[in-house]
């Protein structure tokens, strides 16, 4: 029965070894799918490369289905899975800033680490920017505290907000993903025919 660490089935000393191994697998997948290149990533916004959407959406639906299945089989206690808490205004403003940072910088934090690993100077600058941005946020925190803690909904799930089952939400995600895969495949074919600035 999982999750293993919260249920005390793995000795605590193994935490960081597991973290390192999971990280290695994560970094390997990101680099090998092409996330170490900012121009591959930014393609999702211009239609010439939808690798981000494909990897991201596939991973979300595989993990969602997996969690439902593990729950159904009694292999995992979903009540012990951490549900990221929701702070509506703070999260919306934060995501808008991240979206702007994404289209300017072409990386997100995890992908920039793998880009540094293969020698991208722009990724080093991006990561230095992350450090500076988090430092600026921290120093300004007293001014942002109301926004940061405001509009709190607690550890609420999508199913609770919409009043439907986890199974239905998972099903809807699969449908949306399949449609997105097909539509973006069509868009990518058209855009690639007339783009010259980017080598595929």
């Amino acid at each position: 029965m999982g999750p293993l660490i919260p249920l005390g089935q793995i000795a605590t000393g193994w935490d960081f070894v597991i973290a390192l191994l999971i990280g290695i697998a994560f970094g390997f997948i990101l680099e090998s799918t092409g996330f170490s290149s900012s121009r591959n990533i930014a393609g999702v916004f211009y239609g010439y490369n939808f690798v981000v959407l494909r990897v991201f959406f596939t991973a979300v639906i595989v993990a969602m289905i997996g969690l439902q299945y593990f729950d159904y089989m009694g292999w995992i206690d979903l009540n012990l899975i951490y549900i990221l808490p929701t702070y509506v205004n703070s999260m919306i403003i934060g995501s808008v800033l991240m979206g702007l940072g994404f289209v300017l910088g072409g990386f997100c934090p995890g992908t920039s680490y793998t880009a540094i690993a293969i020698g991208k100077l722009d990724a080093i600058v991006f990561t230095a920017g992350l450090f500076l941005g988090i430092f600026m946020f921290s120093e300004l925190f007293p001014l942002l505290e109301n926004l940061y803690y405001g509009e709190s909904l607690g550890n609420v799930t999508i199913s609770e907000i919409l009043g439907v089952s986890n199974g239905l939400i998972t099903f809807l995600f699969v449908i949306v993903a399949l449609i997105a895969f097909y539509v973006t495949w069509l868009i990518e074919k058209r855009v690639r025919n007339r783009i010259t600035e980017y080598k595929f």
């Binding site: 990897v55 702070y87 995501s95 991240m98 895969f181």
Partner: protein
């Protein structure tokens, strides 16, 4: 012949759907073992807290934000996400070696802009992303990917507004990429 030689320059990336399945399984295994998902921005936050604590210990201990992450018995660097992020870097090196992508330091940019412009955009992008990740309670890995997969409503909000903003603003920054 010419198109053949261009074809050979295509970087050998694995199929994105296959990569996505692998990432989904990794995420599932991570939930199964740790009860939480993946993350990335948390490691930089630990580095910021550690730096401030070293440079100005009193400021850090009395500060509303830093003090949340400081404990008496261990450094803020002794944190799950820091080890995981070191792993991300090592994993990137392994894949880079395997596929022959590790080369000397270089800047990747559109032919329409200079390397310097690219670095300035990357730096500003990083600052905004770092700042936003704190308000968002995580970045694309911790909030958008892991949050959404575990059915967190906040995770879905981050996913929608992060990518939505990117699409809305992409037109204004197109010279950076195409």
């Amino acid at each position: 012949m010419d198109t053949k030689s261009i074809d050979k320059k295509i970087p050998k990336y694995i199929n994105p759907y296959f990569g996505g399945v692998l990432l989904g399984i990794l995420l599932l295994v991570t939930f199964y073992i740790t009860g939480r998902g993946l993350g990335a921005s948390g490691a930089v936050k630990s580095a910021v807290v550690t730096t401030v604590e070293k440079v100005a210990p009193q400021h850090a201990e009395t500060h509303d934000f830093y003090s949340k992450f400081i404990s008496a018995d261990h450094s803020p660097m002794f944190n799950w996400l820091v080890f995981e992020s070191i792993g991300i870097f090592i994993g990137g090196i392994l894949s880079g070696v395997l596929f022959g992508r590790i080369k000397k330091l270089r800047i990747e940019h559109s032919p329409k802009i200079t390397g310097k412009t690219r670095l300035i955009a990357a730096g500003i992008g990083g600052i905004l992303f770092g700042f936003g990740s704190q308000l968002g309670r995580g970045c694309s890995s911790g909030a958008a990917l892991s949050g959404t997969a575990s059915m967190s409503f906040g995770g879905l909000l981050v996913m929608i507004f992060l990518f939505g903003t990117g699409y809305v603003l992409a037109y204004f920054f197109r010279k950076l990429w195409i």
